[in-house]
Symmetry: D2
Subunit: 137 residues, 4 copies
């Protein structure tokens, strides 16, 4: 599986001289979006089906700083799934060292904002996600 | 008229130690939103009428840097109006010195993305904006 | 203790129509900065002493969406302290409902990037933080 | 010359469903950084010489909206140079249509914040920039 690369931009740094911590949450979204596209599922398709997939929680652990010009390599895995939510985890490295690890949990909601039981409403996505967890994609 | 105050946040600085220039464009939006609310018109109301008001252009001149902890005082004026577009200008000062001046131009589009002739579709907004220009609000 | 207010800006929303989740991490920083200023300690003073205080981890739980025009009221508490790190927690509400809860953990580093034992290097900060935990400020 | 590609991220959109206009200013910075790296000059090198290069002004014209999933192709040119400042211009297209055009003007400052006469202090950069203008790189 291809790793997602993110090159740190000048506007992502702060006056401590390093990447501002909030940007790692955005890089997690970039990597997740790329991951879902690679495994054959994309936000566009989800939205076409009238579903939205809000973030329920995020956690990030900052191990080492990065800064302008560094390229982060992000490894993304689907790690957990219940009938209504799923969790994706991230490991970001730069020059071989771990910079940040994180996790985000998501659900699916229909147009009225009601939780969707994935197995029932979208069995093909449910199966895809289940397969990703088993295969440790 | 009340001035809009924006306190520079840590996440708005970059590794040069100063407010990243892109954030002044966002502060212009904050001040514009506050200005339109003060004069009795708000984005919410506009959206309720099914209109959107995209930005056509922005320009900003950076005169002096600002940084974390500084409070910018933003003066906002409506400076130009044609049947389909209007221009708002901004002067941001901190401690009495001008930090940034800018201008943004906007139009109104209906739900199909077609330009709206304000005088015809929304005469009350057209009159409000006209009055703001004359009164140099 | 005064609550920190943050009015959601247009640029903080995403195409789901709600505040993008990454912005809550930034709002936590705003509230933390305001909290530390209120209790008599500020980042400026910390930086004057040659220390930086990077974020070690953040976690956020999104309970309810918010959007442009909403005002979040953020309650901030210092909840944990060890000789080298401290944890601050946040509860954000809008219209009486909890929108987001979160937590951030921080340490102090000297100019060379070495961890600082707060009790030894800055006893007055150590005492202040200790008092905040006891008093459930 | 290679074109700089930027894929619009979800966090770059707003509740109008399109890329928030402030992000084009950031994409201009990304493209400028990539351009300067390609022509053999980078911010890192500049900073090593103890210079900073703040932005003096930016202007952007928004011609067509873009959104999540679109890839912008950015063409960057150096268009003007005086002894103390230089201007870079940008054309961003998506699917063959122009989305945004812009321009940014910059100067060089030394560590004390004084303007640097490039021809005198850094003749090699001055020559590089002069060549870029002639060659319409």
């Amino acid at each position: 599986m291809a790793i997602y690369n993110h090159k740190i931009q000048y506007y992502e740094t702060d006056r401590m001289g390093i990447t501002h911590h909030s940007n790692y949450i955005r890089i997690m979204e970039e990597a997740r979006s790329d991951f879902l596209e690679q495994v054959g599922y994309s936000y566009e398709c989800m939205e076409a089906e009238g579903l939205v997939s809000p973030v329920l929680s995020v956690v990030a652990h900052f191990k080492k700083s990065s800064t302008y010009g560094d390229t982060l390599q992000v490894e993304t895995h689907m790690t957990e799934m219940t009938p209504i939510r799923f969790t994706i985890s991230y490991v970001m490295t730069s020059g071989g060292s771990v910079v940040c690890t994180g996790e985000s949990t998501h659900c699916f909601l229909d147009k009225e904002g009601r939780p969707v039981v994935l197995k029932k409403s979208c069995p093909q996505i449910y199966e895809l996600f289940g397969r990703l967890i088993k295969e440790k994609y």
